[in-house]
């Protein structure tokens, strides 16, 4: 390359004018189009307010939502109860009723408490012998001053009872009971160790130890500077600690909120109300095949199957029915469209029906069906049939009759006319001419196009379902609306992907057999 002299370069350039001296328009067309596109994208950026939307986006939540796809959270709250702690799980915890997980260790103590029994109203009030603090009243709260017998304090009691006050053990009737209370909770959230005792929380994470003092109902203060995994919005306010995927712990002035995340789909087979819940696979198998009947009305196998189908959290039966609806919608809609479009396309094809007016009429009808979108048909038929697969079938049927009719009539117009002539020359009736002269030529093409639309409709049936036309679309949409059931969304997505994959392959296999060539290559 470097050996070329200047004259040789000139000479090459003059020989290939078309390459080296292109017209101005041709030369700058591509960059100009590029510039226009970039300018347009800037316009779109401002039109849609993309920058602002992304800034205001809730990205923290996005991480949680994404994590919800494949994991679940256990959410115990540890409340300060005077000198003791209360561990509470939400009512519908994935861990079932009264959970006692291994990662949450409680240290309990037996204490004697004096229970104040009011004979009249039968309402008990507790006072502890270990502490002067009435467990109902929190120090610093209004109405708990020494000897405070004002009405604010008596609002704790039932009306008409005499109010027990600190250092005042002259309450009507007291009884001393022993009960076990939690004095200390240790929680392992991933690699973090959280230790909670009344008025103090200590956290060990990544080799750092954070000590937090809590003044109940008042303030939360860290003893040292906060490490980077902890944050506090204002002095004395709640401290939020993030432990990556494992979860978060938020220390508040009246409780500690723990969000401990676990990988997997919880209670996928049996929900917490099921007798099979929490049992290992072998235990369930053992029960199903040899155990005594749990429910005398039916066998264990039937009970287990029933529990799986009607799992409250995953709703397997409903999801499967909806998925089947989607499949049925695509199948029946495309099949009907094929059956109707087949004869109509013969009328619309110029070379088969030599009547221009009729041709045009049918072609415009196809265009109409096609261009009134599937969405519009879906919305109308949802009103006609009510929500459900019939609306979806009709919508797909109407749209695809148009599309397939157009494609079919185009294919018919491109056929080889000699075969028809041959059949006609031996004196066959018009119908037979079509049957033996036309159909064998176009049938593989027709079938292949229908299969293609079947496949594509399996996908689009999901989305028209969301406007009420039946199928899994609506279920997906409802699961997403709540923003709490992303694992159900993930489950349905997996099912949809599997369905699409299976039907793609079936349709591809049939198509490649019909067209006589191998289309598949990974």
């Amino acid at each position: 390359m470097n050996n070329l002299s200047a004259s040789a370069v000139e000479e090459i350039a003059s020989r290939h004018q078309a390459v080296f001296k292109r017209p101005f328009v041709e030369r700058w067309r591509a960059p100009f189009i590029g510039l226009v596109i970039i300018a347009y994208l800037f316009f779109a950026w401002s039109l849609f307010g993309i920058g602002e939307a992304f800034r205001n986006g809730n990205w923290n939540i996005a991480g949680n939502y994404l994590a919800d796809w494949v994991s679940y959270e256990a959410r115990p709250d540890i409340e300060y109860d005077g000198d003791y702690l209360d561990v509470e799980f939400p009512r519908f915890s994935p861990l079932g009723k009264n959970p006692d997980p291994a990662w949450l260790k409680k240290t309990t103590e037996i204490v004697e408490r004096e229970v104040v029994v009011d004979a009249g109203a039968g309402i008990g009030t507790e006072t502890s012998t270990r502490s002067k603090v009435n467990s109902f009243m929190v120090p610093g709260a209004p109405g708990t001053q020494e000897g405070g017998t004002d009405s604010a304090a008596s609002s704790f009691m039932a009306p008409g009872t005499e109010k027990p006050v600190e250092d005042d053990n002259t309450a009507p009737e007291t009884r001393t009971v022993s009960e076990s209370v939690v004095t200390r909770v240790e929680i392992a959230v991933g690699s973090a160790k959280v230790e909670i005792v009344p008025r103090q929380v200590s956290v060990d994470y990544r080799g750092e130890t954070l000590l937090i003092d809590v003044v109940p109902e008042q303030s939360v203060t860290a003893r040292a500077e906060l490490p980077e995994w902890a944050s506090q919005r204002e002095a004395g306010g709640d401290i939020l600690m993030r432990f990556g995927f494992s979860g978060t712990v938020e220390v508040e002035s009246d409780e500690v909120k723990v969000r401990h995340r676990f990988f997997g789909w919880e209670n996928f087979w049996f929900d917490t109300r099921s007798p099979f819940w929490g049992k290992s696979f072998s235990e369930v198998v053992g029960l199903v095949f040899s155990g005594d009947r749990i429910d005398p009305a039916k066998s264990n196998a039937a009970l287990a199957w029933n529990n799986i189908l009607y799992n409250a959290e995953w709703q397997h039966a409903d999801v499967w029915i909806k998925l089947l609806q989607t499949i049925v919608m695509a199948f029946v809609g495309t099949l009907f469209a094929t059956i109707l479009a087949f004869p109509l396309s013969f009328i619309a094809a110029r070379n088969i029906t030599p009547n221009r007016l009729v041709n045009q009429l049918f072609k415009r009808a196809f265009d109409f069906l096609r261009c009134v979108d599937m969405l519009i048909w879906a919305l109308f038929f949802t009103r006609a049939f009510g929500p459900g697969p019939l609306a979806g079938i009709s919508a797909i049927f109407f749209t695809d009759t148009g599309t397939l009719g157009k494609l079919y009539s185009e294919a018919l117009e491109n056929i080889d006319d000699r075969q028809r002539e041959g059949i006609r020359s031996v004196g066959a009736a018009p119908v037979l001419v079509q049957r033996y002269g036309v159909v064998p030529q176009v049938l593989p093409v027709f079938a292949s196009q229908s299969l293609y639309f079947w496949e594509s409709n399996t996908r689009s049936a999901t989305i028209i379902g969301a406007v009420g036309a039946g199928g899994i679309g609506l279920k997906l949409w409802e699961a997403m609306r709540t923003n709490a059931d992303w694992e159900n969304v993930a489950y349905m997505v997996v099912l949809i992907l599997a369905t699409v994959f299976i039907f793609d392959n079936i349709s591809n296999a049939i198509r490649s057999r019909l067209m006589g060539r191998d289309r598949s290559e990974s």
Binding site: L41, A44, L47, F48, A53, N56, G57, N58, W59, I61, Y65, I321, Q325, V328, M329, F331, V332, C371, V372, D373, M374, L375, I376, L379, F380, F381, R383, A384, F385, G386, P387, G388, P389, L390, A391, I393, K406, N414, Q449, Y452, S456, N457, R459, S460, T462, I463, I464, A466, V467, G470, L476, W477, M480, R481, V493, I496, L497, V500, D504, S522
Partner: protein
């Protein structure tokens, strides 16, 4: 039709051939009728199932099949145009129902864009931006998925599976997810449609690339061009018309897709249409449908025309879901 001419006397070989042919014919017919029978059984079962799980039963609701036409008859023909162009209506009774000028989108003091036209433009823009994004990423990915340009099998495999995933992932889930994060607006729709477009265009693109003429690439390889140079100067010029043509096809599809996504909460004309139908406002519904119909026909025609100019009369009407 009649299968043989029986009167002809055949030799032994001839009879063998005849018998063999008869057997094949029988087998073929068996398959055909068996297939049709199987299809009919599946169809009947499907129809039964669809009817059972539908909210209304088919035969009960059949008389209402054309009810929607009743939903499309406005109080007067002129109402449609008033609704479409946001002109004041004589039926205005102070409620929002006939207050068409309320939706006007003012560009300046006096010039306004009617509400539905504005929404339509928004939907077209969603489709356009999504197509541009999809084109860009599909373009970048397709060369990695083509057998003739990427020799590493694992890379090809990975890129193809990735594009398949993008294609098959339900758009509605992507839209719903971003709706949860970004709140209402057209952006979730753009992202959802764009992601699907990347997968769909990528697949079409790499099929084009695999059919490209490799001689320019070979020439560049001989003169020491690296991979990027070979692709950029050897392959891109010859596949570009096809790429653009596919992109135009996709744009046409995306206009429909963004309308549908709009109807499930992505903004644009789809949402307006759904609301109008559910509120039973005939004139508005009809105005939107006419607008939508006109737009789709126009986009179809423009895209078909441009494609014809780009690649001649190649018939690839195929492909909607892709």
């Amino acid at each position: 039709m009649s299968t043989a001419i029986p009167s002809v006397q055949r030799s032994a070989e001839g009879r063998l051939v005849e018998r063999h042919w008869q057997e094949m014919l029988f087998k073929r017919r068996l398959y055909t009728w068996g297939g049709i029978f199987g299809l009919a059984v599946i169809l009947a079962a499907s129809l039964w199932f669809a009817n059972e799980t539908n909210a209304g039963k088919f035969f009960d609701r059949l008389p209402h099949f054309f009810d929607f036409i009743g939903d499309l008859i406005p109080r007067s023909g002129a109402e449609i145009w008033r609704a479409m162009f946001d002109l004041p209506s004589p039926y205005a009774d102070g409620s929002l129902k006939y207050n068409y000028p309320d939706g006007r989108f003012y560009l300046t003091e006096n010039i306004y864009v009617p509400e539905y036209v504005y929404k339509m433009i928004e939907t077209i823009n969603i489709a356009l931006v999504a197509t541009l994004i999809g084109f860009t990423f599909g373009f970048l990915l397709c060369f990695l998925a083509a057998r003739n340009l990427t020799t590493r099998r694992w890379l090809r495999f990975f890129v193809r599976r990735f594009m398949e995933l993008l294609r098959a992932f339900p758009e509605i889930v992507i839209a719903g997810f971003f709706l949860a994060i970004l709140s209402l607006g057209p952006i979730p729709a753009v992202i959802a449609v764009a992601i699907h477009t990347i997968g769909a265009l990528g697949k079409m693109f790499f099929e084009v690339v695999e059919n490209a003429d490799m001689r320019p690439e070979e020439g560049l390889r001989a003169s020491g061009g690296n991979w990027v140079e070979r692709v950029w100067f050897g392959i891109v010029p010859q596949v570009m018309p096809n790429f653009l043509s596919y992109a135009l096809l996709r744009f046409k599809i995306n206009v429909r897709a963004s309308t549908i996504i709009g109807a499930v909460g992505g903004g644009g004309i789809g949402e307006t249409l759904r609301l109008s139908i559910s509120r039973g406002h005939e004139a508005k519904t009809l105005a939107i449908i006419i607008l939508l119909f006109a737009t789709i026909v126009a986009v179809d025609q423009i895209s078909a025309h441009l494609r014809k100019r780009l690649v001649g009369n190649q018939a690839f009407e195929f492909g909607r879901g892709g």
